[in-house]
């Protein structure tokens, strides 16, 4: 994809994500050829869509497609994907027994006929296809009712024997999902910064825009620095050979999102605290996204534990 094609896709995604959400956005993505882009240029497709989706605070079930593409399981295209919340002791549904399910899915799981359940057992990863209708599906309101998450529990029988997933492919899928969610956090955080920036320039107190006060300026500058560091790591996550690159990027994105919430909320003050103002949508979105595929807190501690145990830093990013 050359720069012009990339810009065209970005603009089409900007329009789609700002005009549609949920199933309508899924349909719009299919119409504009996003899935083809995902198949040929995952980096461009993932980074552009999720950043725009974050910016617009809309939602889709594209994360399921990212996981399937990352796993390279071609015959699962279009299925809902469920990543089991905890490690399993037994491979799911290996001998035809029911697959016990506990996880969070996108809204696709309410509509799709089949769900691909991914579970880890010891060091192996398994995938089992089940009928979505057999699962107990609870649409989650929670902190962010607009995100369309679905809590899934219960048991369902596998429609075919569970298959073993190559661990390298699982890591790739997880890395892509982390980068996708990282970009969504970045998009949402950029939107918060823009809301706060505009407010600071327009809001007059003591006879001047509050943007004239250094305390306000420095909070917004701090936010931009946080977002730029997340962007730098998300950009290299695709080229960095280090296996943890996506986890690092997701951790910094989550932390940056929380930094954006803290500073932008303070600058927006009372205005940003009302329900009419869009700010709260972004706060809710970022808080939930940070928890998906490893929170900043969890990933940071895991990285620290690993490094303390091995006494080896992750390989340094090469020039």
């Amino acid at each position: 994809m050359n720069t012009e094609e990339r810009d065209l896709l970005d603009e089409a995604l900007r329009r789609a994500t700002s005009e549609h959400s949920g199933a309508a956005l899924d349909a719009a993505l299919a119409r504009l050829g996003w899935h083809d882009a995902l198949a040929t240029e995952p980096r461009t497709a993932v980074s552009l869509l999720f950043e725009q989706q974050g910016r617009a605070a809309t939602t889709s079930s594209a994360l399921d497609d990212v996981l399937v593409a990352g796993l390279g399981i071609d015959d699962a295209r279009g299925a809902a994907v469920l990543v089991a919340r905890a490690d399993l002791c037994e491979p799911p549904g290996k001998g035809g027994e029911p697959v016990i399910v506990d996880g969070l899915g996108t809204a696709r799981i309410l509509e799709a006929e089949y769900t691909l359940v991914l579970g880890r057992a010891e060091d192996r990863v398994f995938a089992a296809t089940v009928r979505s209708g057999e699962l107990v599906r609870r649409p989650v309101d929670g902190m962010d009712p607009w995100l369309g998450l679905v809590e899934v529990t219960g048991a369902a029988s596998a429609v075919s024997p569970a298959r073993s997933v190559d661990v390298g492919m699982w890591r790739r899928a997880e890395a892509w999902a982390r980068v996708a969610v990282g970009h969504e956090i970045l998009g949402a955080s950029s939107a918060m910064l823009e809301l706060a920036r505009r407010h600071a320039v327009e809001r007059v107190q003591f006879g001047r825009p509050i943007a004239a006060f250094q305390a306000v300026r420095h909070r917004l500058a701090e936010t931009l620095v946080a977002l730029e560091s997340a962007r730098a790591l998300l950009d290299v996550a695709w080229v960095d050979a280090a296996p943890d690159a996506a986890a690092l990027a997701k951790a910094v994105a989550g932390r940056s999102g929380r930094t954006a919430i803290r500073h932008c909320q303070q600058v927006l003050a009372g205005m940003g605290f009302t329900i009419e103002h869009p700010f709260h949508r972004y706060v809710r979105r970022v808080l939930v996204l940070d928890e998906m595929f490893g929170s900043a807190r969890a990933l940071t501690a895991a990285l620290g534990r690993e490094v303390l145990a091995s006494r080896q830093l992750p390989p340094a990013l090469a020039l």
Partner: protein
């Protein structure tokens, strides 16, 4: 030469030359660091590596700036040079290449690259720290010479330097950034006096420099009269690209050194993870900036983000050292303890030198976020 080829050749050569490149006595003094720097520069120049990334007209062998970015990285990662004193090359050679008369650049730059000479950068003054454009060190035209009178401060390595890239006030006192002229001054000129400043971290690498009616030939003017502000601003992209990338390599090395000796249980996983993330974020940002510079893009106020990140990463690394090795840091009188202490204390200045953390945030607010003027 391409980066991959350069990297492989340099790594091989550095492996072969391990003993030739090693510091002589390991005393850790500034004198030793300067001797070591000169030696490493001479050996890398004579082997050709130091000449890549610089134009042929100043003794270079051409090629992308990525090559010299990698050279400094490799030297810092192997703990062969301290990147702070090495960075003078990265910042002052481009200034000479862009602004000195061509014959002067051709004569002088190879001396800097080969480590035959040390140069210094006379910018800050007692009355102008963050507000550089208010400098007052006076340059008056006297026929075919400038006569310079004034004082500089925080001039790194001036006591070792043969030359100084000096910013002077050539216009009216209130001429601001328009009335500044950059000069290339021989430090052995009559009327130049250097006094090292004792600082809390130990090595006296900063100096006061006094100029008392010092004569500087007009052909030593860098750029045109009154163009000094542009000279100073054009130096910034180099200070914020390759030089910071080298700093990242140094911090990575010292963090690994810490991991090699940290007592079990001395650190919380979360604080270790946090420091690694800060360093990784800075390194990723710096890498993008170095690549932009090497592609010929014009670097501007966005490099203030790099500066904020390097300062945070620097302090995070040495905060971690302080948490992990309190006895060494506070009580250690051996070389290792003294080095951790010096570096910890120097890291406190990371948010001060090269434009304070507050100045960087002001630049970000005004130039990147378009928040208008403050106050």
């Amino acid at each position: 030469m391409e980066l991959d080829e350069f990297r492989a050749a340099l790594d091989r050569w550095l492996d072969d030359q391990t003993s030739a490149l090693a510091p002589e006595d390991g005393s850790g003094t500034l004198d030793e660091h300067m001797t070591q720097l000169a030696k490493v520069k001479r050996l890398t120049f004579d082997a050709g590596f130091m000449r890549y990334g610089w134009p042929e007209r100043v003794g270079g062998l051409g090629g992308s700036a990525l090559l010299r970015a990698y050279l400094g990285e490799a030297l810092a990662a192997r703990d062969l040079v301290e990147p702070g004193i090495y960075s003078i090359t990265e910042t002052l050679a481009p200034t000479m290449i862009d602004y000195a008369p061509p014959s002067l650049a051709a004569d002088m730059v190879p001396r800097l690259l080969r480590g035959d000479e040390t140069w210094c950068q006379g910018f800050s003054e007692p009355g102008t720290g963050s507000n550089l454009a208010a400098l007052v060190c006076r340059a008056t035209r006297d026929g075919d010479r400038w006569r310079v009178t004034g004082q500089k401060v925080w001039t790194s390595l001036a006591q070792y330097a043969q030359r100084c890239v000096l910013l002077t006030r050539s216009g009216a006192p209130d001429s601001g950034h328009r009335g500044i002229t950059a000069l290339f001054v021989d430090m052995d000129s009559d009327g130049v006096e250097v006094r090292p400043i004792d600082t809390m971290h130990g090595p006296p690498e900063f100096c006061e420099v006094f100029f008392d009616d010092v004569a500087v030939p007009v052909e030593r003017t860098l750029g045109a009269e009154g163009q000094g502000w542009q000279v100073a601003m054009d130096l910034l992209p180099f200070e914020r690209s390759t030089a910071l990338w080298h700093r990242a390599a140094h911090l990575q090395r010292r963090l690994q050194d810490l991991l090699d000796v940290v007592p079990v249980g001395a650190l919380e996983p979360a604080e270790v993870g946090e420091t690694i993330l800060q360093l990784a974020a800075f390194r990723a940002r710096s890498r993008a900036t170095v690549h932009r510079m090497a592609r010929g893009e014009r670097l501007g106020p966005e490099t203030s983000v790099d500066k904020v990140l390097v300062a945070q990463a620097d302090q995070a690394v040495f905060d971690l050292v302080a948490a992990a090795l309190p006895a060494e840091l506070l009580l250690g009188d051996d070389l290792a303890g003294a080095r951790w202490r010096t570096e910890f204390l120097f890291s406190r200045a990371a948010t001060i030198y090269g434009g304070t953390a507050e100045i960087q945030r002001n630049v970000i607010a005004r130039r990147l976020l378009d928040l208008g003027t403050d106050g």
